[in-house]
Symmetry: C2
Subunit: 215 residues, 2 copies
DNA sequence: TTTTGTATTGAATAATCATTCAATTTTTAT
DNA sequence: ATAAAAATTGAATGATTATTCAATACAAAA
């Protein structure tokens, strides 16, 4: 199995790509299945059917259902992380513009859509009982929070804002995002991505009173 | 079955109480089981054992597992509703004091503890796939939001605050609460009830700048 | 082409679990 | 106290589902 991944074709990495395709097909199918049926009703059979492989193969490929679920959460987590890492790494950008880009990303349709959110919440709901889920979610949160606090700190300096600490602003933002994602799932008619984004920007406006970019 | 509830003893309502005891014992056991093991690992057998009745009885009493779960969510929802309804109904209380009481309630140990929160999130995670869960959660949210907006509106008048609409403040508060509850589950060391409560009060302070009760 | 090793299948297995129901215990009425 | 009715039990049933694995398809090498 491991050998295959390494040795199959030494001239080109086509084989590795092929295997990765199956790997990724199964992860995609898992996320889609959870989004469509819920975690409770997600069986290997459903996932395998959606990925167009046999049930036995799905299990064989990931060793266990649990492993497949963990891999899917990890993928989701990485995908999200990449999207905000990119923004934090951009050079020559004003801190306020950067934080606005962060907000836009958190409520972009790629990130904050009902399918993705329902999968996140499905995993969140099991976090207390599956240490591996918690580890994946926590590690991500930590780096995000850290970078966010640093960014807020810069903005506080620029705007001479002293009433609210970077930690406070960052935590408030973070909890608002989590809460709003949840509400998008409940009532997408009211909680459109635009509505949520504007609500968060309005929060920033309440902190940075003289800054009119938080329209 | 229904007859029993009504006719068993006509002189006193002891029988009704007794049956209610079993009913309630099962609902309590369900909530405890979900809190301890997660919704995915909550079986009728576990619940029955915890409630000290037979497995067959638990099912018979609630007709189905689904029904037992719905009843438990309804109970949780009613319990929460009662706690904030009481505050909204209090007479002769200043709007700002009232909203502070609401915040205190939302982060009281009776409401915002890891067991209750893990049960809430378990149900939330299934909301997209079980219309009955959604109905229960939505009905509650609606009344809460309505009362909250009215209260914020009063505070806006008193403080002559015009920049932020009652809807905006209410929605921001609501999403912060949901987000912070989630974070209590993730990292209770950092997100103590006190920490969360103060974070929310600080948000209010950013809106109502001259009001020093939001310490 | 034949051989050899790998990838993939799908049917069988075994475990779990909601639900049912005949039998038993408990309660109520006479 | 006895009969009738209701409450409760717990073992049996049937459905679902993760996991296994012998058999097959496929690809590479000779």
């Amino acid at each position: 199995m491991m050998k295959a991944l390494v040795n199959k074709k030494t001239t080109e990495q086509a084989s590795e790509t092929e295997i990765s395709v199956n790997h990724q097909k199964l992860i995609d199918a898992t996320i889609e299945t959870i989004a469509k049926r819920g975690l409770a009703d997600t069986t290997i059979a459903h996932v395998a059917k959606r990925a167009k492989v046999s049930q036995g193969y799905a299990n064989f490929r990931f060793k266990s259902k649990d492993n497949l679920l963990i891999s899917s959460l990890q993928y989701l987590s990485d995908e999200y992380k990449k999207s905000w890492q990119k923004i934090f790494e951009e050079k020559n950008i004003d801190p306020i513009d950067r934080i606005i880009r962060i907000v836009q990303n958190d409520f972009s349709s790629k990130i904050a859509n009902r399918n993705k959110i329902s999968v996140w919440i499905a995993f969140y709901s099991e976090v207390k009982f599956r240490p591996s889920y918690l580890t994946i979610c926590q590690r991500q949160d930590e780096i995000y929070s850290q970078q966010m606090e640093k960014l807020v700190s810069e903005i506080n300096n620029i705007t001479s804002q002293k009433e609210f600490t970077p930690k406070e602003v960052s935590e408030t933002y973070h909890s608002m995002v989590d809460g709003l994602w949840q509400r998008i799932l409940f009532d997408p008619k009211i909680y459109t991505n635009e509505f949520c984004k504007n609500l968060v920007l309005k929060y920033f406006r309440s902190i940075y009173v003289n800054e009119d970019r938080f329209a």
